[in-house]
């Protein structure tokens, strides 16, 4: 964990003053970046430098910095969350780059994710998809059956968990040539479809969530699998297949 020699980098970053402004790529030089620093700590350094020089810092979304909140959302060298698999931008460390590298940093791009400022995008479309059916209609009174009253076979429970680990970052959309939200929607549909608690509303859920995703302007799925590759949580394409089965049977009534 020792701090070895710092790296010198050229950063090409998307700057856009606000949603209505025209954006462009700006170039910055940054030196003495520790390879043990995270990618976002590198951006902190850049921002500190920009502020000290009297310039405006780069806006970007981030919060937990441990790969779980889903806030960070950068397109780095053409890939959502940058090089490396199964990690978010905040888990990317500078040791993945070399001294002298040029790094391109852009926001996630999709019609349904409009840019708010610089690298910050609006992902409320994801929330609205959840409003359309991402829940089990149970009152929060606590007066339900005992938690062990309905056993769930371990395999289904584990699969439901795997689907439920989606962090809602939007990398799947940013990776998709159609900007499809299928993996995101499928993760939630699958979680509930695999559990007895989710069965009762299964039909309406899948129909409503898929419809909402379309209305938000997310594209159709053409099964290229780019989403699965870029998903920081490794959400499986199997979930899309499961959603399609659910959708098909719900459509038949």
């Amino acid at each position: 964990m020792s701090t070895s020699k710092g790296m010198n980098l050229t950063l090409k970053i998307w700057r856009q003053k606000n949603a209505n402004a025209k954006g462009q790529i700006e170039t910055y030089q940054l030196s003495d970046v520790s390879p043990d620093s995270s990618f976002l700590e590198m951006l902190d350094m850049l921002n500190d430098k920009l502020i000290n020089e009297g310039n405006s810092p780069v806006a970007f979304d981030h919060d937990c910095r441990e790969g779980i909140c889903g806030a960070c959302s950068l397109h780095i060298n053409g890939e959502p969350h940058g090089p490396g698999r199964r990690i978010t931008t905040c888990q990317l460390h500078m040791r993945s780059f070399k001294d002298g590298d040029t790094i391109y940093i852009e926001p996630f791009r999709a019609k349904a994710f409009p840019v708010i400022k610089d690298l910050v995008v609006d992902r409320e479309s994801f929330d609205r998809i959840q409003h359309a059916g991402g829940y089990v209609s149970v009152n929060t009174s606590g007066n339900t059956v005992d938690a062990n009253a309905i056993p769930v076979d371990k395999e289904s429970a584990d699969k439901a968990f795997d689907a439920a680990t989606c962090i809602g970052c939007g990398a799947c959309v940013a990776a998709c040539k159609n900007a499809s939200a299928s993996l995101f929607v499928a993760a939630k549909v699958s979680q509930y479809a695999l559990l007895p608690q989710g069965q009762i509303e299964a039909k309406n859920r899948v129909l409503n969530m898929v419809k909402q995703a379309e209305e938000e302007g997310f594209g159709p799925c053409s099964n290229t699998g780019a989403c699965e590759v870029e998903c920081p949580k490794g959400i499986s394409l199997e979930n899309i297949a499961r959603m399609n089965r659910e959708f098909f049977s719900a459509s038949l009534k």
Binding site: N18, I51, E66, Q130, V138
Partner: protein
């Protein structure tokens, strides 16, 4: 002002039931005419917003993140406690209550803790009904694990992402109400002040973080669920945006702030790598189920490890000091967090630290024994006779991977070291704050109509929180406590009607918020906000951290006040107030931390004893264990704001223990 905790009469086990039966209710038709503001959408705020909306109130929920799903409860890893006794290992409501009071070093309110234990079982039922995918065994029933400071397995979990799954459960309950129009959600909004009318909380001033617009929002009651203030230390396991602003603003408006010095320093975090570090990452306490903590026995070995001349795996068994097992044979590696953290500091201060950073702070967390143990077990299960050492290791690593795989990956990602092959390096870091806004049994602050729930209040964990109890408290407050108790207050508001925002009180509050923001952007100082935040963090860690002395605390109070003055003179905030401006957001938060830090140090100075997370070097036994002074200090220190933070008036709420005997906490 006299502090009235409003603890109901009667035997401990009947208090909550009786209280629920006796408090006033609001009829469903009238609830439709009542608005409630909830600030923060973590486990406490999210579950409260959902439940209040479901009961029929009109809820306005606020979060600074772009979605309620991103609140920092999401990062909780290990689990949630509940007195279900599914394992038949002797657990009960009383035991959970007792463990929590003892774990909190006898500085919490008995009645609150008992209620928490009482509703804990319901939380699990509720979450399962919502589709939260907890870990299950092969029979399809829920699995449990064990956590520090207890002798039973009562922790429910979803791999290392329990907080995420519970928060997404609360978020789903919110979504159901958002879809119905019962919750109006304000994403990317930050509360910057509370508005009081005739002494009652009637609204907030919030800034829209996208447009910069300063907005007035009114309600009949305001619930603050804004989490803890660990980021006063700059480096902590909290999210970058976690802040004290909402809690501090209500403190400045009359809500007392209780026990600010009770801070949990979590023993198992990844050590600091260098000066560019922005935050620390926790490794779940669940790792202590299987990991053994040690440092080299010989100073020269520790030095050689730091300098990279000696590999930890080459240090012989007899040259290792498993200091927790040595000092605390009965709890071993599963002692409570405060005890484990101090023991690590003690070893590192003595020169045995193994990490090559400024302070050599770090110890090993080693899974080798567990890998061997599980490997042999697996070989036995699989009927492999005479398994080779290699085979056993392989099998054992598989078991460890299934239990902690995501944590091991996370560790490797950050440190570039493989924890299956070489021990993890860990060190304590600021993680959770037990102190917070003072509330009575109804979770109401000293301001009528103003509530504080979850980590933002002080109520349940005393001087030290047990692992897997934060999630329990957040959901207990939000799902099962506040929705009842708030009705008792709102019963007076059924005829009030909507609260107008075009009143002098709102105008004045908005004006003050705007002036502060403008002051920041017009200041044109020489240093960024982070510059000051890091300096504050250094003072806090060095003088108000794991070990505190009267002398150091006095220095800290002075230094923080000076730093605050420098901050206001010399901070540079670029941009304007009417746009998205992340530096402006940070400036406001750090300004509040600079005030809180001073009160924090003052509280630590007043408390001339060692208890839980608060350790005063002057008060320890010969063996270095914490020494409580129950005669003088069995009270809650609740501070009333008067202007200068360290000159706040201290009010005492005496703690009465009728159901447990105060003992020296022993984990030996």
């Amino acid at each position: 002002m006299n502090l009235d905790s409003k603890i109901p009469e009667g035997p401990l086990k009947d208090k909550w039931t009786n209280h629920k039966n006796n408090i006033r209710l609001v009829n469903p038709a009238n609830k439709r005419n009542i608005d409630v503001i909830v600030v923060g959408t973590g486990l406490a705020g999210g579950s409260a917003a959902a439940t209040l909306a479901e009961l029929g109130y009109n809820v306005k929920a606020f979060c600074y993140q772009d979605s309620p799903r991103r609140a920092h409860s999401i990062a909780a890893q290990g689990g949630i406690n509940a007195a279900k006794n599914y394992q038949g290992d002797g657990d009960s409501i009383y035991r959970l209550f007792y463990d929590t009071v003892k774990g909190g070093d006898y500085r919490s309110r008995e009645a609150n803790v008992y209620r928490l234990a009482e509703v804990s079982a319901n939380i699990i039922d509720q979450c399962v009904a919502q589709g939260v995918p907890f870990a299950r065994d092969y029979g399809g029933l829920l699995d449990n694990r064990s956590f520090g400071g207890v002798l039973v397995s009562r922790t429910f979990y979803a791999k290392g992402q329990t907080g995420q799954q519970l928060l997404l459960g609360a978020y789903s309950a919110m979504n159901r109400q958002i879809a119905k129009g019962k919750i109006k959600m304000y994403n990317r909004h930050e509360m910057l002040d509370v508005v009081k009318i005739d002494g009652k909380a009637r609204g907030i001033i919030a800034r829209n973080l996208v447009s910069g617009e300063i907005e007035r929002h009114s309600a009949h009651a305001v619930v603050v669920a804004s989490g803890g203030y660990g980021n006063v230390f700059f480096l902590s396991t909290n999210a970058m945006g976690s802040n004290v602003t909402a809690a501090w603003k209500i403190h400045k408006n009359g809500a007392f702030f209780a026990n600010p010095c009770y801070t949990q320093i979590h023993p198992t975090c990844i050590p600091v790598h260098g000066t560019q570090q922005s935050k620390l990452t926790l490794m779940s306490e669940s790792l202590r189920n299987d990991g053994r903590i040690w440092v080299p026995k010989k100073l020269e070995d520790a030095k050689a490890v730091r300098e990279g001349r000696l590999k930890p795996t080459d240090i012989k068994e007899e040259d290792r000091d498993y200091y927790l097992e040595r000092r605390y044979p009965s709890f071993g590696n599963l002692v409570p967090r405060d005890v484990a953290s101090r023991a690590a500091k003690e070893r590192c201060d003595a020169g045995f630290g193994v990490v090559n950073n400024d302070t050599n702070e770090g110890v090993f967390l080693d899974f080798k024994s567990a890998i061997q143990r599980y490997g042999k077990e697996e070989a036995h299960i699989k009927g492999i006779k005479n398994a080779s050492a290699e085979e056993i290791t392989k099998l054992g690593e598989k078991v460890i991977e299934s239990k902690y795989g995501n944590l091991f990956d996370m560790y490797q990602q950050i440190t570039a070291e493989n924890p299956y092959k070489t021990p993890m390096k860990i060190y304590p870091a600021v993680h959770y704050t037990m102190g917070g806004v003072w509330v009575d049994y109804n979770l109401m602050t000293t301001v009528p109509g103003l509530y504080a729930i979850g980590e933002a209040n002080f109520s349940d964990h005393g001087a030290n929180r047990l692992g897997a109890s934060a999630l329990m408290q957040g959901l207990a407050d939000g799902y099962f406590v506040l929705p009842y108790t708030i009705g008792d207050y709102l019963a007076d508001d059924i005829r009030t009607g909507a609260i107008p925002t075009d009143t002098p009180e709102f105008e004045q509050a908005e004006k003050e918020v705007r002036e502060t923001l403008e002051k920041f952007v017009n200041n044109n100082g020489n240093h960024s906000v982070d510059y000051f935040h890091k300096k504050l963090g250094r003072i806090m860690w060095d003088k108000v951290g794991m070990a505190r002395t009267a002398e150091g605390l006095k220095e800290a109070i002075k230094e923080i006040a000076e730093l605050r003055e420098e901050f206001w003179k010399d901070v540079r905030v670029p941009g304007s107030i009417d746009e998205m401006n992340q530096e402006l957001e940070k400036a406001g938060r750090v300004a509040d931390f600079l005030e809180l830090g001073e009160l924090f140090a003052r509280d630590a100075l007043e408390r001339e004893e060692s208890c839980g997370g608060h350790f005063r070097e002057e008060y320890q036994s010969e063996e270095g264990e914490a020494e409580r002074r129950d005669e003088q200090f069995a009270y809650v220190a609740a501070y009333e704001y008067t202007g200068k933070p360290s000159e706040a008036i201290m009010h005492k709420e005496e703690l009465n223990f009728e159901n447990v005997e105060l003992k020296t906490r022993s984990y030996k």
